[in-house]
């Protein structure tokens, strides 16, 4: 195609974190050098990704064709607006998370830090691989690589809890991908995609010959097969994965891993089925709505479960499950605004939720507290952390002045555009639920009632001398991402431009 540019930069961006594993291992006894290599790799990768931003925003598509994996299906990178958006989010957030990780891991004197940062780098590489994947098979390859690379991170503590968490993690992620996604993949290949290389370029290579039943089955095979997206009933790996150290929960289980799941679903919807096939219009099979309802169910139920969780990280995990299903819902409705909303929500939720996880980790490092019921009054001693927590929750709820409002607005408008009134109610109810499970945390941190405090204590008065924050390396990243979610409320233009380059060709009017 005329707007395609060949370039090796995507390959370099993919290889950078992978190669960083070497210096990380070599300098395993020189902490500063080891951690320095992580940061260096992060910066190089971000620069490489950003260097492609201009071309992609201008509507060009960057390709990097390596070699044929199976006949007609190459291992190829192909970067369009969607891939760029995701790569940008993941590679940008890796840098603050690395700093945060140094602070967190050193603060807690964790063991095997070298292994930890090495696998972290491999995970990032796999994430970029998924973001840049040019066809279904390439995407699947990196998807599996990510599942495996994150396993040692989830089970980092190597205790009983980690073992059972790791079991759930792998059995869900690997099990569903082998049992559902793999046959779906081969079905696609057999059903006519084979010769076209299964790539995402022409907005869907499946035809309506599939029939509505086949279409629904295939779509659900994909949606459940990519269970990193956390759709019920294959969601329980995510709360289980909370046994991991918090930097992992922050970057991987709020951004990279889970977003890879929804990203894959978005790819399947836009690149394999095509938005027309999903919809009700001419040539459509009207299958998107089934997926939308599964997602809507997940949104409501996970929010209700989140309300009942006292462990902060678990509450965040269930909130993530709900938010991921927003994205799937938007993709399933397949209107211009809803797909845009889904894409923006990838970024918005990433920035918001990572802030919340940073905060949860910072609270744990500073005070050793994991449960919300123990956190009354902590706002007085950790004002920055809880201030950031407040901004992060606003963004996840979708309130101004945060980026979350913009993405949620798109999603809601998209739902209206699709004419699904009941789903609008789902959005409304879930927003109320979001507020109900986040805002009380902030409220009781700053304004504790006496009966919420341990016996004999009274609500402390705020004074600067009483401030006991987590180490600076933990606090700075969370302040940064909290600021970012506010900043993007005002300055999201470049992201929306990126989204438009991807969405506009899908919906030619």
């Amino acid at each position: 195609m005329e707007n395609e540019v060949h370039s090796w930069v995507p390959l370099l961006a993919f290889l950078t974190p992978l190669l960083a594993v070497l210096p990380i291992l070599i300098f395993r006894r020189e902490t500063m050098l080891r951690d320095g290599s992580t940061i260096a790799a992060g910066i190089v990768m971000l620069c490489l990704v950003v260097s492609m931003l201009g071309d992609v925003s201008a509507g060009k598509i960057i390709t990097c064709h390596l070699f044929d994996l199976v006949p007609n299906v190459p291992l190829e990178f192909r970067i369009d607006g969607l891939g760029m958006l995701f790569a940008l989010v993941a590679s940008f957030l890796w840098i603050p998370t690395s700093f945060y990780g140094f602070g967190y891991m050193r603060g807690l004197k964790e063991h095997s830090q070298t292994r930890f940062f090495a696998f972290f780098a491999v995970s990032l590489s796999a994430t970029i691989g998924v973001a840049f994947a040019g066809n279904l098979l390439t995407m699947y390859l990196f998807y599996e690589m990510l599942s495996l690379a994150t396993f040692p991170l989830v089970t980092h503590h190597q205790d009983k809890e980690a073992r059972s968490g790791g079991r759930t993690y792998l059995s869900h992620l690997l099990g569903t991908s082998v049992a559902f996604a793999l046959p779906a993949l081969i079905w696609c290949y057999v059903a006519g995609g084979g010769a076209d290389g299964m790539n995402f370029s022409d907005g869907g290579f499946l035809s309506a010959d599939l029939g509505p039943t086949g279409g629904v089955v295939l779509l659900l095979l994909f949606a459940f097969g990519f269970s990193k997206a956390g759709m019920m009933p294959f969601h329980s790996w995510l709360p289980g994965a909370m046994v991991a150290p918090t930097p992992v929960s922050a970057l991987l289980h709020a951004v990279a891993v889970v977003k890879v799941g929804v990203f894959c679903v978005l790819r399947v919807v836009t690149g394999v089925f095509g938005v027309d096939l999903l919809g009700r219009g001419e040539g459509g099979l009207d299958i998107g709505i089934t997926l939308a309802w599964v997602a809507a169910f997940t949104v409501i139920v996970s929010s209700l479960i989140a309300l009942t969780q006292d462990n902060l990280k678990r509450r965040l995990a269930f909130s993530t499950i709900g938010q991921l299903s927003y994205i799937i819902l938007g993709a399933a409705l397949a209107t211009k605004l809803s797909v845009s909303g889904s894409m923006l929500h990838i970024a918005a939720h990433a920035v918001g939720k990572i802030t919340l996880f940073y905060c949860a980790g910072a609270i744990f490092v500073a005070t050793g507290k994991k449960y919300i019921s123990q956190m009354s009054g902590l706002g007085k001693t950790m004002p920055f952390t809880f201030g950031a927590f407040f901004l992060g929750s606003l963004s996840v709820i979708g309130l101004p002045p945060t980026f979350g409002l913009i993405s949620k607005f798109h999603l809601v408008m998209g739902t209206a555009e699709a004419g699904e009134k009941v789903l609008l109610v789902v959005f409304l109810v879930s927003t109320i639920l979001n507020a109900a499970y986040f805002l009380p945390i902030v409220f009781r941190a700053f304004f504790p009632k006496n009966d919420q405090l341990p016996d004999g204590e009274t609500a402390p008065k705020f004074s600067w001398s009483a401030v006991r924050e987590a180490p600076l390396m933990c606090v700075v990243p969370l302040a940064l991402t909290a600021f970012l979610s506010v900043f993007l409320f005002f300055g999201s233009g470049f992201l929306r431009e990126l989204v438009a380059t991807f969405v506009d060709p899908l919906f030619p009017k």
């Binding site: 006894r29 050193r106 004197k109 964790e110 009983k160 073992r163 059995s171 082998v178 793999l182 046959p183």
Partner: protein, 522 residues
């Protein structure tokens, strides 16, 4: 020289075996270098042969110059199909030979020379089975391979090994007898033993309805099934491979079953022809169903095992189901997938058995529960084992994924959904099996209750566990095998292209033209 390569591949290890038998009695240290040298020569000739066949089409070689017209010549024929299998056999043989360096004197003290003689003869037999184009000669070579393997298995120091070898002799002999009987029927009916002549005679004389051909087919198939341990004829396999010395199981497990599957494909497609096998008999449903049962049963039985090697043995039973099923799907992708899987499974099995041998030597125990902490103690061995395990599960980019890719495609295209489900089921079971091992290796058998915090500052200064890797002679072949597994996966397209030179795209037969020896290259 080049035109004699088909026979050189066989003669080098054969003569090396003889030399070793003579010289070994004087000094048993001759065995190892001689074996490695002979198999290196075989591998090199096999590779050259394969390249030659890919470039210029199949080769026919008549032993001693007694050609087809004389009617008594034994023919060796190399096309890309058995060229690939030949390279695989030679490579696995060489890798295992390197691995044997220190293991054999430990496992079979005092019988090192005997071991290498049998080992070389086994390799000769297996490679012969691959290249021969004569149905009776094939029987002889099957017997060479089998008899040597009985000896190799019985050589171990454990009593159970001897008993298992005896069991194997009985089963193996029954299998060989079935095969021989079948060939007898064929000879009576067609008057020839040359594979493509048999096929040609069946066609020209319209023998395909003859009951003797049917009986021959059934007998030969059952004979080969016993040799490859196809469900439910697998009873001899698990104990024989589990209690054999580790070098023996490392060569037998990857090759014996795989070469037998190649033989089955060759018999089906070259001797009887795909039209007869798939259309006239129409047993696909039945046999794919049997294969499905083999896959499920093998996987479930593997789940029940507590010993690593035994678990791997049951996985072989399941993998045999993959390949037999794939061939009988009567679909191009299934057939090509099966051939590809012969190669990839050989290396996967080799990788796992080499690692299992290393673990056994270190721990003195076959039990999976004893593997605690292996990721820290033997990181390289464990990593290589993990590559083999991921290939068994079918994670890209290992070759195991791409075998499944083609096999499942074949299953979908031919409508054998039960086979597709069984493949996926077995992948999931494999995932459970191997992650159970990883878990033990990562956490130990009894993980700590508390947090794993260390006292140091996270610099990993005071590593509590010392890395204590296996010796280079055992580690090098293992790592090489792991690398091959990944390379085979990444370059699977090339392998498939080579297979398709013999089995043209879209077809399920080996066209007679490519077997006549003078066909134009594609």
């Amino acid at each position: 020289m080049a035109e004699h390569l088909p026979v050189i591949v066989l003669l080098v290890p054969l003569f090396a075996a003889l030399i070793n038998a003579l010289a070994g009695s004087a000094d048993e240290r001759v065995g190892f270098p001689l074996t490695v040298a002979a198999l290196t020569a075989s591998l090199a000739s096999a590779v050259v042969l394969l390249l030659h066949v890919v470039a210029e089409g199949p080769i026919s070689y008549f032993l001693g110059g007694w050609d087809q017209i004389s009617g008594i010549g034994i023919e060796l024929r190399i096309d890309t199909l058995n060229g690939l299998v030949l390279v695989t056999v030679a490579a696995v043989g060489l890798l295992t030979a390197i691995y044997s360096c220190q293991r054999v004197p430990e496992d079979t003290p005092g019988r090192v020379a005997n071991f290498y003689t049998l080992y070389l003869l086994l390799c000769t037999g297996l490679m012969g089975m691959t290249v021969t184009a004569d149905a009776f000669n094939l029987f002889v070579l099957i017997e060479i391979a089998s008899l040597t393997s009985y000896g190799l298995i019985a050589m171990g120091s454990s009593k159970r090994g001897t008993y298992a070898a005896f069991n194997y002799i009985i089963m193996g002999t029954i299998g060989a007898s079935f095969y021989l009987l079948g060939v007898g029927y064929l000879y009576i009916a067609t008057g020839t033993l040359d594979m493509s002549d048999i096929h040609a005679t069946i066609i020209t004389e319209g023998l395909s309805d003859s009951p003797s051909i049917l009986v021959a087919f059934v007998l030969i198939t059952i004979g080969v099934w016993i040799k490859m341990a196809f469900f439910p004829l697998y009873g001899w396999l698990p104990n024989a491979y589990t209690f054999a010395p580790s070098t023996t199981s490392a060569i037998l497990a990857p090759l014996m079953t795989k070469v037998s599957i190649y033989v089955m494909i060759r018999i089906m497609l070259t001797v009887f022809g795909s039209e007869y096998v798939f259309e006239q008999l129409g047993w696909s449903r039945l046999i794919v169903a049997l294969a499905t049962i083999a896959i499920v049963a093998g996987s479930v039985l593997a789940l029940a095992q507590k010993k690593l090697k035994k678990m791997l043995c049951y996985l072989i039973v399941a993998e045999v189901g993959y390949m037999v099923g794939g061939v009988w799907l009567a679909d191009h992708n299934g057939l090509v997938g099966s051939v590809y899987h012969i190669i990839s499974d050989a290396f996967m099995t080799l990788c796992l058995f080499l690692a299992a041998g290393i673990f056994f030597r270190r721990l003195g125990s076959h039990y999976i529960d004893e593997l605690g902490g292996m990721f820290s103690k033997m990181p390289v061995t464990m990593a290589a084992f993990a590559v083999g395990a991921l290939a068994m599960i079918g994670i890209p980019p290992t070759c195991g994924f791409f075998s499944k890719w083609y096999l499942i495609q074949g299953g979908i295209a031919s409508g054998h959904w039960e086979y597709v489900v069984a493949l996926l089921f077995s992948s999931l079971v494999n995932a459970v099996l191997f992650f159970r091992i990883f878990e033990v290796a990562l956490f130990g058998s009894k993980p700590a209750e508390g947090h794993g915090h260390s006292d140091d500052h996270g610099n990993d200064h005071a590593e509590p566990v010392k890395i204590d890797e296996a010796r280079p002679a055992t580690l090098i072949p293992l790592v090489a095998t792991a690398a091959i597994i990944i390379l085979l996966g990444v370059f699977n397209g090339k392998i498939i292209d080579i297979i398709q030179l013999t089995i043209p795209a879209g077809s399920i037969e080996i066209p007679a033209g490519t077997m006549s020896g003078h066909a134009a290259p594609k």
